[in-house]
Symmetry: C2
């Protein structure tokens, strides 16, 4: 499954009240783009409507208003502000990014046969797979219409390239499921498609629309890519450790679906004969018995697969932080740096 | 289901040999863009490949090389030539159009739970729904990448608008299935989304890329829309009349799926109490028994629903023909005119 958003903050504080010392890194970043985000939310509502097919806004709203943190559109808004942008097209681009994300979630839930997302029943369960496929297509088309309105061919290039990497990664994930011969290179491609490609495009287009210098645009792309890779690695780790209540997702979903993530690749390659038999039965052949998740967790610990996955996340996080050095120190740069630590800290 | 291509010509004649007096209207049009179409075919093969996920070209090739006539890309090539285009970007646009069409077919087969398309098992049956959804997404992204390469924001606007109409029409079709209160306005929106929107975009972008005058571009849009509407009306009619062997589709598919097409709307509104009961049982409640297709055909005949559907197809065809008057008479205009008659003649 595609990366979950971090758990929503319990305190729905009044605007302005979240920037205090107690607020977390996410809330601080949010407070800096809050007005813009309200405009994005309004544009989302406006553009997901369909005069002819009322089922479209029903389904879109179910997912879009279900409490995702809107991290991706926030990144676009923050990146454009970091580059000093004062126009209005970043609102359209942030909406585009959220629509592409929502479209992939709808299709992803069909592909994964998911029952739950963000703690609620998924659209494919509440309506049907057909509607999820078609409403996803609709949102994807709406995303491209919004980009076209900015008139920037460069933005269209970046986001259509990202869309192709996303779709390719999803197909690759389908063919790597249950396949214990999956190597690190293929795993990287899968998680880049699942998460990092859209993060990277989200930050890069923020720079492009602001007319930033090429080296700053490139720095933003690297920042988004590093952040996204760290985010997905943290997510893959959490599947073997987080608690269901906090995440709106069941721990062990990836395990039960036979997904070959980095923790599994490492534990399998380092395991003894008994461990390797265990992974072959559970991941490759899909025979998961009571107590197997706990046994998997034990193998992951013993082989230090969890620690090394966390180290890999940290490595991508460092890359993201280093990229921000292209920008002068300041409040926005600091907020974007803190988000990186926040994402990796989810794995602890 | 989305409109079928006209049945493939049995003679796979050598290039140049098809332009003779015996060749049909489709073969004559084909012969006029044959070299361009070969370049489109090469570009399709190049761009549907994926370095990382070999399943993508497998599935795409299954559908793209299964014997569709490529009417939509041919229309783009012909429209650009009609406007005197001498550049190379029409090849990319024709490929874009074919990719969008193929992506919608893949998703359409998942939505319709189809077993057969163009006389062969569908991808959702041969592989699975998951792959069909994701490979469709991939082709859609590749389509946008190709458009971006032309650098024309106007082309991107036209085709992203068409994509939204297509997706909206598909969702609308989902909600009108089994619904005998569907009126002519909603039916028009459904078939515009299913077929006419992409036909119209295919011809319009041919004019745009050629730098044609606005009134010529608009004429091409109307031509494509009229042709597409006539095409889909003919298709809906054929579902109650064509033979399985000729079409690679089973007669009666729409009937068994409870699709509310124009023949059904007319026959239901004009039927006596017995007929209306029949349509309620079969279309609305989905209880189809042996002999019901024949009974449906009899009701359609009695109420002249077939004749009036054909008249509606003819009316859109006339609109398409009238639009071509914006162009000077010539070989290409004649070939595009003849295609209109050919499409409507399928209903006889």
């Amino acid at each position: 499954m595609t990366a979950k958003s971090p758990p929503r903050s319990p305190a729905k504080a009044a605007p302005g009240a979240v920037a205090g010392a107690e607020a977390g890194p996410f809330e601080r970043l949010l407070s800096m783009v809050e007005d813009d985000l309200a405009r994005v939310t309004a544009l989302i509502r406006e553009r997901m409507s369909s005069p002819h097919a009322p089922r479209i806004p029903e389904i879109s709203a179910h997912l879009i208003e279900a409490g995702g943190k809107r991290l991706r559109p926030i990144l676009t808004l923050a990146a454009s502000r970091l580059c000093g942008y004062e126009g209005a097209d970043h609102i359209k681009l942030a909406t585009t990014v959220e629509f592409i994300h929502t479209a992939t979630l709808l299709h992803d839930d069909v592909v994964d046969e998911s029952q739950k997302r963000r703690g609620r029943a998924t659209a494919n369960i509440l309506w049907d797979n057909k509607s999820s496929v078609l409403v996803g297509d609709y949102l994807f088309s709406r995303a491209f219409q919004l980009m076209v309105e900015t008139g920037s061919v460069e933005v269209l290039r970046i986001l259509s390239d990202a869309s192709a990497v996303i779709a390719e990664g999803e197909v690759l994930q389908l063919t790597t499921a249950h396949d214990l011969t999956t190597d690190l290179g293929r795993y990287d491609q899968v998680i880049r498609g699942k998460t990092a490609a859209l993060f990277a495009a989200a930050t890069e287009v923020g720079g492009v629309i602001a007319g930033a210098a090429p080296e700053k645009v490139e720095a933003l792309r690297i920042y988004g890519d590093g952040l996204g890779m760290a985010f997905q690695l943290a997510d893959d780790l959490l599947d073997y450790g987080g608690s269901t209540a906090a995440l709106g997702k069941n721990t062990g979903d990836d395990f039960r679906e036979g997904k070959v993530t980095l923790p599994v690749i490492l534990a399998y390659s380092r395991g003894d004969a008994g461990a390797r038999d265990f992974w072959r039965r559970t991941i490759a052949r899909g025979k998961v018995l009571d107590g197997d998740l706990e046994r998997a967790q034990a193998y992951l610990c013993e082989t230090d697969a969890l620690g090394d996955t966390q180290a890999a996340a940290r490595c991508h996080a460092e890359r993201a932080l280093a990229a921000l050095a292209a920008f002068a120190p300041g409040e926005m740069r600091k907020a974007l740096e803190d988000i990186v630590d926040f994402v990796v800290a989810r794995t602890v």
